[in-house]
Each structure stands twice: as structure tokens, then as C-alpha cells.
């Protein structure tokens, strides 16, 4: 199984019936493919809708119906449209249960860097800063390392998206919760070891019982 699929499948298990969820661009978007068909999850897209549906069939794209990544999408039954101020009122106001987004770095305090590499990549923060501050639960979806370098740091070196807002980090190797006293390793991939995960993580990891990730 591809590492992105492992991450997306595991995160999908965090979603509960009735949750309002915002999935970031890229890897987080894949989570939608693995939601338990027995529950109803409402996907929000910050450009202005709740009830994000599957991609349209070819030839049925509507230029006025896109997601926050600019891709053509559809609207599910009971969905609706709204303007950007309303959309971020929903986000900032704590009405989104879970936001899932990627990371350049995430750290032991739950701070996240995801929007800028000064002088190299300056795309802008888009809606990420509002989402991370506003959502009830923030899940970071990221590969455990980038070209062998740890992405889970003692402290983020890149400019922050938000300070101390991340609740859960899900990688292809581990599920890690952000606690008051630091990071807690909750689950590991069956094919790896706690030692290997610790070796690939810059931030210290606490753990007691570590379960195998269900993917």
C-alpha cells in the first residue's frame, strides 16, 4: 500500500457520523476516498460550500463549482453554497469538527509550518491559518520524513501556520497525539518498530501501550 493511502485510510477512521470536515489540498483530499460508508460526514470547502461530493463525470464539469484546490467537484444532497466571509465564520467560529492538512514541519508543541519556505517557496497561507486556529480538531497528514529528514521537529524552524493548535499527527509509520507534555506515540505501522519511529522523529516521543495502526 502506498504511504499516502496508509495515511489517508488511517485518518478516515478519525471521522465520526455527522462531523463537518475540511480536507486540505493534496494528500488530505484522499481521506474522502476511505470514509466508512455507514457514516455521514459533511465536507466543507472554504471557497464556499458544505456537502462536497465526488468529482464530476467527464464532460459534466461546471466551471462555477470548484473546491478550494480549484478542481471541479459536485455537491451532495443537502449541500449549500455561501460567500467567503460566511465560510470563514464557519471555520473560525469552531463549527468545523476536523480539519486535515499537510505539513512542512510540525513540532513537539503542536505548532505547524506549512505555507512558506522563505526565499524559496512563497505561495501564501490561503485558508490554512484560519482552519488550524478554528477547527475543533486539527489533524496533520504527512509523510514521516522528507528525503530522510525528520518533519516532526523539536521546534518548527520555518514560519508557523499556527502555534500549538495541532491535535494529531498521522504518518505512514505512526499515529502521534500532541499532549500537554509533548508528543505521545499512540500507534505504529505493523511493519515498523518503535525504535525506528523514534530514530526518524526529531521530537521526543512518549509512549506506553502502542497499538498497531489499522489501515
Amino acid at each position: 500500500m502506498h504511504e499516502k493511502e496508509i495515511i489517508a485510510r488511517r485518518i478516515a477512521k478519525e471521522l465520526r457520523d455527522g462531523d463537518l470536515v475540511n480536507l486540505g489540498i493534496g494528500l488530505p483530499t484522499l481521506v474522502a476516498n476511505y470514509i466508512d460508508p455507514n457514516i455521514t460526514v459533511f465536507l466543507q470547502s472554504e471557497n464556499g460550500l458544505i456537502g462536497l461530493g465526488p468529482s464530476p463525470e467527464e464532460g459534466h464539469e461546471d466551471p462555477n463549482l470548484t473546491n478550494a484546490g480549484g478542481q471541479y467537484v459536485t455537491l451532495n444532497p443537502y449541500g449549500m453554497y455561501f460567500d467567503s466571509a460566511t465560510s470563514f465564520g464557519i471555520i473560525r467560529g469552531g463549527h468545523v469538527d476536523i480539519t486535515v492538512l499537510g505539513a512542512l514541519e510540525v513540532d513537539a508543541e503542536g505548532s505547524l509550518a506549512s505555507w512558506i519556505i522563505p526565499k524559496k517557496l512563497v505561495p501564501g497561507m490561503g485558508g490554512a491559518m484560519d482552519l488550524v486556529v478554528g477547527a475543533k480538531k486539527v489533524i496533520v497528514a504527512t509523510t514521516h520524513t522528507n528525503k530522510g529528514k525528520a518533519k516532526i521537529k523539536n521546534q518548527c524552524q520555518l514560519p508557523l501556520t499556527a502555534y500549538k493548535e495541532v491535535d494529531l499527527i498521522v504518518t505512514e509509520l505512526a499515529v502521534i497525539a500532541v499532549k500537554e507534555n509533548g508528543l505521545q506515540l499512540l500507534e505504529k505501522h505493523p511493519d515498523t518498530t518503535i525504535e525506528e519511529i523514534i530514530a526518524l522523529t526529531e521530537a521526543p516521543l512518549h509512549y506506553d501501550t502502542v497499538k498497531d495502526m489499522e489501515v
Binding site: 470548484t66 480549484g70 455561501f82 467567503s84 497561507m125
Partner: protein, 217 residues
């Protein structure tokens, strides 16, 4: 009360140095015809306020590529390499603002508020140079209201007075921008005799001029 404009009349509203809000999200909901007319006019030193920098050949990206923009206020610019290049060369001043803050600052101006207190951007570089305010023990950034000279918005349809509705996610920033600018020009895809009073999104009092898309499509 005929609010409709032809191209020449529209271009007469333009001049160097204007601040212009442009609706749209990655160009979904951007009034491309109006952008083309601004490109054709050749006005310069514009301040553009838009969710993003568009694409090189779409949306406000066309104004950037044509070197008409002095300052861009947006939440991201990643899809238009010209924006990044002009920023690096010092030609384009780019002010990046969190998307929700941008929407709320524009709404605040339209609603006569001096600004809003938001938790977004606390303890990030967005906080730099901003005033912090504590309310009930929580710290917020004071973000001032943001207005502009001209709004260019896209609407799905309107009645003859300009009561407007939008199409799906093409709504995005258009309704708040319509409240926050001295002059508001709406590109409409359709003119209808009347719209149900319960579903009008932008009341006619916000729309100064209407350009009919089908006349020019």
C-alpha cells in the same frame, strides 16, 4: 435608472493608481471580461485585492503579467509564476493575508467597522507590526477594515436595479467586495425582470454599474 455600461463607459472609470477588488477564487467567479477591459485600457500602478494571483492567462494574473499591478493583496499567489517572479524582482509588492482575515477585513469596511479581532495568525509572522488585544484573557490580532476604489465582481443574474444572485462557488468574495468599494461594477450573465426577495444575496443599493456578459461573449 439604467445602470448598464458599455466598454468605453467602463474604461472611463479607470485611471492609474486605483485600488481594485476583484472577486473570484482561483478565477472561479472572476469577471474575466472586465479584467480584459482593464488590460486593454493599460492603466498602471494598480493595487489589486483578490483572493489569489490567478493564473498567467486568467483572472488578475493577466493584469500582473501585463505589469499593471504595483501592489497585490491576496491570500496566496502559488498558481501564477509571474507574481512570484515580480515579487522577487521587487516590481510587485505582495501582501499576504490569511483568507478568512481578508474576507473579514473587507466585510468590516463594507459594514462600517474599524476592524475586527481575530485569533488567526497569532504567534506567526502575520502578527508582525499588528496591535494585539486581549478579550476575556484571549489574545487577538486587530485587523483593520479594508476598502478600495473599485470592485469588479461577477454575478449569475440580476434584475434591472441590480439585485444580484451568484452561481454556486463563484459566489466566494464577490458579495463582500460589493459592499466595500466606492464604485461597484458587476458583470452579469443574465438580466431577469425580477428576483425573489427572499433569495437576493446582494441588494441593488450596492451595485453601481452592470455590464452584460452576453453582449460581449
Amino acid at each position: 435608472m439604467d445602470k448598464t455600461l458599455e466598454k468605453k463607459q467602463f474604461q472611463a472609470l479607470l485611471k492609474d493608481g486605483l485600488s481594485i477588488m476583484v472577486g473570484g477564487f482561483m478565477t472561479c467567479g472572476t469577471p474575466e471580461t472586465l479584467i480584459d477591459w482593464v488590460v486593454e485600457s493599460g492603466v498602471k500602478d494598480l493595487t489589486i485585492i483578490c483572493n489569489d494571483a490567478g493564473f498567467p492567462e486568467q483572472g488578475v494574473g493577466k493584469l500582473i503579467k501585463n505589469h499593471q499591478v504595483n501592489t497585490l493583496i491576496a491570500s496566496h499567489i502559488g498558481l501564477n509564476p509571474f507574481a512570484g517572479a515580480q515579487m522577487s524582482s521587487g516590481e510587485l509588492n505582495v501582501i499576504l493575508i490569511p483568507q478568512g482575515t481578508l474576507a473579514e477585513q473587507i466585510r468590516a469596511h463594507g459594514a462600517g467597522l474599524g476592524g475586527i479581532l481575530t485569533p488567526t495568525g497569532r504567534k506567526t509572522i502575520v502578527e508582525e507590526g499588528k496591535q494585539l488585544m486581549a478579550v476575556n484573557g484571549v489574545e487577538y490580532l486587530l485587523e483593520p477594515a479594508l476598502g478600495a476604489d473599485l470592485a469588479l465582481i461577477e454575478i449569475a443574474k440580476c434584475d434591472p436595479l441590480g439585485n444580484a444572485v451568484y452561481a454556486k462557488t463563484a459566489r466566494n468574495f464577490n458579495p463582500v467586495m460589493a459592499t466595500a468599494c466606492e464604485t461597484v461594477v458587476a458583470l452579469t450573465h443574465k438580466m431577469v425582470p425580477a428576483i425573489d426577495p427572499e433569495v437576493i444575496v446582494t441588494p441593488h443599493v450596492f451595485i453601481d454599474y452592470i455590464v452584460k456578459e452576453h453582449d460581449h461573449a
